[in-house]
Subunit: 389 residues, 4 copies
């Protein structure tokens, strides 16, 4: 017997998932980036699209920025644009992988001038945060090497520690740094922050305002990600999530698309570790690439997937589960979990959405809204946003 | 006791490894493509660079073309340019992944007009082959889907078979088709030719002129590639190799860079299956991306790696090995193989190169040649070649 | 809108999943095999347990035998025992991995006497099939090597082909051979039948009565198994399934336990390729190890998982799916699939079971039956069945 | 130009690699354990075999014990036996995976009585250490679950922390605890110490005498192990190595057999991080299973592999390497590393061994010694040692 939907609704109401501005631009693989009609040319247009997602779902009140892709002259003004659209500016993401100077590293570089340049870029990001009121500086580092011997792994790690220390020192009292780890790509032999252990050791050395960012697509094949979620919550160091899903590498597919049951297990550990609590330090965010599917409905689908799976997780009869676990009842315990996973929460969610003045089916509502046709007609000319700009 | 170097020299003399024209252009990841001074702007400049590799190593007499990247008006003229440089035009590679029409497939597309366009592109490639005298049409298909349900796996496979049949029918008597398989990328949920079994089943259905192409980077983690080499040679269907190496995905690193012992085992099976024989149907080729290292010396290093490893393989005492295998002497058999692997063949190879009028150390000879400085100075302006052009 | 349950019931009624006799014995890892009260000591007791599964589910009318584990003097008598219990004897599985002679191979061995012994064992299995009326001889070969050089991959493959030919020749008109492939284990460097391509090439060389057996746990990490299902059905060579699930290696967990959505996709392709049709050549079977969970409810849970997932697959609106696929509507097509996956089929299935005189909840019915307590009390003394006996 | 052999000989002379007593017993897979003539029946016979390895190589002065497999009444006496054979007793390994009580966990168990039993077992191991003079208590924990929901990941981790704390408190001033991590097996869904991050977080919470044990076979596919070596040395927490090699899972093959270049890179980072220094806290040890190859020569081959690869690593021209790294010379830096890797150190090592009164070729010396024939003749009757006893 799972818990009743009514009892979990308040928790669902508090759910918020930050959207990445870049998900609304074009993206692709090294082989090809396909364009699509209606793709935003500016951060203002990206915000408009993100606001549409929030309007239809009430799940996505914040939009993460990527610097320099979303660079503007006046961040106060941008904050106003967002506010007018009903959203806030969220996490600021730095970029140290597209400047020619960073071919052999940024925060880890042997050349102190280039390393300083990368540190300065993060200072600039903190300035942006000051202007936007953003809480988090997210650092995903593309640094690494392609061939054994190309770099000195140890020296690079030491320089990384020093660079992070300098950036950390610049953070305001209410600001945080989240350090993302990634198994591989774009570097192929070694990556300077390849696993949660490295991110954890680095942020622990910095202090309380530094936390780990877990991207669900950044692990070796077969890794038990929910275990890491549990461990980081237990250690008090899970700062944020980048949601997406993967079959092979960092596929950046829609969260829940590749292995819905894995998403269920991950969110179960979030809840078990009180990551959904009001005072939880965990920020939830999407990080995805809509290479072949439509971007706005891709984002809507994603936040709905997280919402639906959260509902299933909250339905788990944890009292019965604990009893079965303590009794060594393997099949019983497993079936309590599966019972919640297999429960169809969609009708209850649809009704509940309507009761809150939201469309029962946000995907259908988007399709019916005409917004896609509008932007396709309006956004003609200019340079469609992508990772390159 | 390994075999003597003298006895294996004649086999080494016959070795030829085709170079890919695109290895001389810029390449990168979805995050960034770094440019480098001296990068060719045209196929003619690519041929010049390839010819340099061959001049210093006598290992690379052919250059593979990629259509449309290497498209020219007059292929007869291009053939002449190559001949003047001391090389030949080799395999013709088709491209069905960069046209906007191919977003959802090419040879597998549900839309018969788009599918015909992709078939026609291969007809055009065969026309190029007629003009260049190339033997092989290589088909690597980016077709696949990113989400379960996006496509009908079965229907796509059937349309692929039909498309290949039409292309096959156009081949001349001395022309072949080689069908490459790849585990994943650029598609993330399914790929239409993901494994050797699929390629084998498809080419077997076509006839004797269709063969499998094995790219050493296109397998699932942990796959025993030398077993596949053995099996395809045994079945008479190994048409060609694309050499490179990988740590994670399709990293396209220098062959032998990631796991030299794996390269040794692969080449051992090539030799065991008579793939080095004069009448062998196996074409050897590089397929690499020099993202952060210099391109021309990257290619020199690659063909030298194959040559050095071939020498080690030829040194294996196969009589003693067979005896140990039949005796169930696990450690003895393994040590016979390892003995050859650990033999330092470099001094003998250097002396032998000199005896043939080649530089003892082609890497050093290239560095000393001033060629890199020359092209860096000369190739200013224009558009550096990359996958995009 | 998914299809209605009523319309799919007839197809569900025809479903049959063979149980492996060894699932009722103890199993474990190289570290430990845990015993449990009530574990069968004989094949007759295994049949009784299997019959219990069938009694409560009407899904498991056949029991596969493993020779020599299930060896008896009188197979006709055993057939009678089964019939009295309401089940039939099914697939006969050979065993060439536990005899000391097979340390370095069986059907691939260099020693012709040992190879003949392994061939003779299969002749003996065919004799058993003649007596039991079994249709299928299943060959899973543990042959392989642990170290490079230990064996001659090519020679072993050729001897395998010859051995299989001799066994194939002995098959009766209504008998089949199914050749199972496995990525690795118990051999660690190479396995003689490691992938579907090898099994396909070997059985194709034999003739129509030889087919491929696909065990869902026997693939490299990340392999798209449903693609292989599609391909083998398309090629007319999918003979049988061994269902189970895996997180890492050949974990042999309960089917659907690790990745339910993968099971959904696999069964979707079975249906797409007409593998559920009455005249389909595909035999469905479990192959699992209940190391820590109870065995009989483990088997009940497994067949129910297959049944529930089959129901979800049959609910897919294939007409709408095809339309969305042809329109390039990625999100639409995916959501039609997911709609069926997320449908809770359990209430309809429970009612339908009751309408057929079966318990609505077979797991609960088993727990209430007292059978477990009965066998725990009765089966005292003797040697509990396991892989060793 | 690599460094000269003469200059590295002193470092090689100090090398010591501990042997595991269990490597001399029989081992296998869940499918079969093959016996071999001459296999020890007792820990005394295992010590004799280990002493033979050390006699011929001077590389293996210590032997690790496994409790209860190597349990004796009088450890002082055993210490004397070892001393008479010219070896010492080394690391003590606990075992919490073969008692029926540990089916659902040991140091993590929900039942406090069973958990106390597991803690007490470690107290007993510390008593053994007191008697044998062993420095290290090695804990490899088989604890984990097979099905989602079976256990509470968080609660288990907390109980693990508490159990380790109690054990840690019992350690003497000169004793250490090393906590091994393992990706998977024998548990299939989750393992309580699955990665270096978990081991690091747990031992850091304990204190200076607790360190991480890195087993080279215990990582996800594709993991860059040398990076972890670098990181743990940098963090001062690399306590010990378990050497072996793997193609797929925890294959426990001879170290250096599967990927010699990986061993080279790992040992390079050991040297880079001063792990070979006299005052280094790193203990080197083998942990292998000789399933199909002879055990004593298997161990000789293993220590020689480590010695040969260490020699190659010490030959690296680190000054030139650093210069190339700082210059961004990717190919140059890589080739400095490869130059050492491809150097054939075997002739120098053979001469050097002779100069120290050791056989030039320890493998040949063992084969010629007649020892294998002696033990095969002498060790008849009794129970051959294996994991079970």
């Amino acid at each position: 017997m799972t818990t009743s939907f009514t009892s979990i609704a308040p928790q669902l109401e508090a759910q918020a998932i930050e959207l990445p501005s870049w998900a609304f631009g074009n993206s692709g693989t090294r082989f090809k980036v396909f364009g699509t009609p209606g793709t935003p040319r500016t951060i203002q247009e990206k915000l408009a699209d993100a606001a549409k997602v929030n309007e239809l779902t009430a799940l996505a009140p914040k939009v993460a920025l990527h610097i320099p892709w979303d660079k503007v002259d006046d961040y106060q003004a941008l904050r106003g644009v967002a506010a007018d659209l009903g959203v806030e500016l969220g996490t600021v993401n730095s970029n140290t992988f597209q400047n020619d100077d960073y071919k052999f590293g940024s925060l880890t570089h042997t050349d102190s001038a280039i390393r300083q340049q990368a540190i300065d870029h993060h200072f600039e990001c903190i300035d942006v945060m000051d202007a936007t009121g953003s809480q988090d500086l997210k650092i995903w580092l593309a640094d690494g090497t392609n061939y054994p011997g190309q770099g000195d792994l140890r020296g690079r790690q030491d320089r990384l520690a020093d660079s992070l220390e300098q950036i950390y020192a610049r953070l305001g009292d209410d600001q945080r740094m989240v350090l993302e780890y990634k198994f591989f790509e774009p570097a192929f032999y070694h990556t300077d922050v390849p696993d949660w252990g490295t991110s954890y050791a680095q942020v622990t050395a910095l202090g309380d305002k530094a936390m780990v960012c877990l991207d669900t697509g950044h692990h070796a094949p077969g890794t038990n990600i929910e275990f890491i979620v549990m461990q980081l919550l237990r250690l008090g160091k899970l700062g944020s999530f980048d949601f997406n899903s993967r079959f092979y590498a960092d596929d950046d597919l829609i969260v829940g698309a590749a292995d819905p049951f894995q998403l269920f297990r991950i969110l179960y550990e979030v809840n078990r570790g009180r990551g959904f609590d009001a005072d939880s330090p965990v920020a939830f965010m999407l990080d995805q690439c809509h290479n072949v599917e439509d971007k706005i409905p891709g984002q809507i689908r994603s936040v709905l997937n997280v919402q639906e799976m959260t509902a299933r997780v909250l339905l788990v009869d944890t009292v019965a589960l604990t009893a079965a676990q303590n009794a060594g009842d393997v099949l019983g315990a497993n079936s309590i979990l599966m019972d919640a996973f297999y429960t169809d929460v969609r009708p209850d969610l649809a009704a509940w959405r309507e009761s809150r003045g939201l469309p029962a089916d946000p995907m259908a509502a988007y399709a019916a809204s005409g917004y896609q046709q509008e932007i396709a007609a309006a956004r003609v000319g200019g340079q469609q946003a992508s990772w390159g700009a």
